[in-house]
């Protein structure tokens, strides 16, 4: 999915993240999360990690578009 999005010129630099319960067996670790980043997500927020990391990510985004 994210590879298709990244293949669109206008979405190449758009911040895209994924989060929640990402596996079927509970908390996902290292490799699987890394594979999602490699595929094109800017960040991965596992459900169990809480919301703080996501808030930090959003705060760090440059406001506005125009890049």
């Amino acid at each position: 999915m994210v590879r298709k999005l990244r293949a669109c010129d206008e979405l190449r630099a758009t911040p895209i993240v994924i989060g929640g319960k990402l596996g079927i067996a509970g908390v996902e670790h290292g490799d699987r999360l890394g594979a999602l980043v490699d595929a094109g997500f800017d960040a991965v927020f596992e459900d169990s990690a809480g919301i703080v990391g996501f808030h930090d990510f959003v705060r760090a985004l440059p406001s506005g578009v125009g890049r």
């Binding site: 319960k21 596996g23 079927i24 067996a25 509970g26 908390v27 169990s48």
Partner: protein, 401 residues
């Protein structure tokens, strides 16, 4: 009563028949949500459900690729060994699904396929091909929350899907469909809307050839409000589904679930008590893993047994007895007698005379201490028996009250 209005007796060995029999014996039927893509694991799960210390029916929950009709992706996952979040019944052959249920599913252990599809025709074809006959959903409840399919197309899809199942009726089986309308969005729906949707979807099923249905209601956040809602649901079903085999199924809380094992267990027990208190015949459980991941087989078995024990402690699955000789109409809130009174065989102190269990228009008196589903005619009652009075199915009481 005309012949056409006579209630349909559920067929022995059918899903509806199994639930009706458990109900007559005063046992709440409990059921897991369970689906694994590996056929061996799926079979293991069904077997464990069957062997649980509870009155159970089995579940095959389908994966999300199958729910949206993406069978190619489901097949690819099977080919590459990627585990899915359910059993891909269309991607697997009928022979494999028959092997999964072989010598497990049957009259003493019906198996229901649960999915979440707004276009379930191919799912139902696979269900029938595998020799199964029970499923669930609905044209609204499996459209609005789960898909981008327009409602009109979902309705057409569900008409076609009902025809696939109803076809079994001509072959001597009794297919069963359960409305998902009592859950809808999981939460954030007023109970009145859930009740209306459940009833409407049951009417839809009847319109399209089903004769055995169940109506769902998902436990919300207020036990009193839930009891009122289920009472209303039962009353409406009693009035509108004359001639059908039907029962009520409660879903354990479908919203954000407690993270602690204790909290999860309490909520499940609360759902079991709601089911008993409201005369529901079946409960779909949730496990302690709900907040974290898909449950293991062992966690599901534990949840089934926890719910069964909570239901037993709450009393017979059919409801309270009534003061001897009381002839007042029963109100929805008439649930006063304690479990100890009901099981002692002594006359229950019963409810106040402003709300009793029967009315003279339909005799459905329950004998104190008798097996939960056996009723006797009230002394002096002259009213006609209701359609289902013979076994005091709670639906009749709701319809009569």
């Amino acid at each position: 009563m005309t012949a056409a209005a006579r209630p349909l007796l559920p067929q022995a060995g059918s899903f509806g028949g199994f639930v009706a029999e458990a109900r007559r014996a005063g046992r709440l039927v409990v059921q897991p949500r369970m689906g694994m893509s590996d056929p061996h694991l799926m079979r293991e799960g069904l077997l464990a459900t069957r062997r649980a210390d509870a009155t159970t029916v089995g579940t095959i929950t389908l994966d999300s690729y199958t729910r949206v009709g993406d069978h190619r992706e489901a097949r690819r996952a099977l080919a590459t060994g990627v585990a899915l979040n359910g059993y891909p019944i269309v991607a697997h052959s009928a022979a494999i699904t028959r092997a999964v249920t072989d010598r497990i599913a049957g009259a003493s252990f019906p198996v229901q396929v649960r999915h979440g599809s707004a276009a379930p025709q191919d799912i139902f074809e696979a269900v029938v091909a595998a020799g199964l006959s029970a499923s669930e959903g609905g044209p609204i409840s499996y459209c609005l929350p789960y898909s981008r399919t327009p409602v009109a197309r979902s309705v057409a899809n569900w008409e076609a899907a009902c025809a696939v199942l109803a076809r079994l009726g001509a072959e001597g089986a009794e297919p069963h469909l359960e409305t998902f309308g009592g859950c809808m969005m999981g939460q954030l729906c007023p109970p009145s809307l859930l009740v209306a949707l459940s009833v409407l979807e049951a009417l839809f099923f009847r319109q399209h050839g089903l004769r055995s249905v169940s109506l769902s209601y998902a436990q919300q956040t207020h036990p009193g409000q839930d009891a009122e809602a289920v009472t209303a649901l039962r009353r409406l079903a009693g009035e509108l589904l004359v001639g059908l085999d039907w029962h009520i199924v409660i879903y354990t809380y479908m919203g954000v679930y407690p993270h602690s094992a204790g909290g999860a267990r309490l909520l499940l027990e609360e759902a079991a008590r709601l089911a008993v208190r409201t005369g529901a015949a079946r409960l779909v459980v949730k496990t302690e893993a709900e907040a974290h991941r898909i449950p293991t087989i062992a966690e599901n078995v534990r949840a089934l047994e926890t719910a069964a024990r909570a239901a037993e402690q709450a009393g017979p699955a059919v409801g309270p007895s009534r003061t001897p000789g009381c002839t007042r109409r029963r109100s929805p809130w008439c649930t006063p007698s304690s479990a100890s009174t009901r099981t002692s065989g002594a006359p229950s102190p019963g409810p106040s005379r402003t709300g009793c269990w029967t009315s003279r228009t339909a005799c459905t008196l329950t004998t104190p201490g008798a097996p939960a589903a056996i009723s006797t005619r009230a002394a002096g009652c002259t009213g006609p028996r209701s359609a289902r009075c013979r076994c005091a199915a709670p639906q009749a009481r709701a319809a009569a009250g």
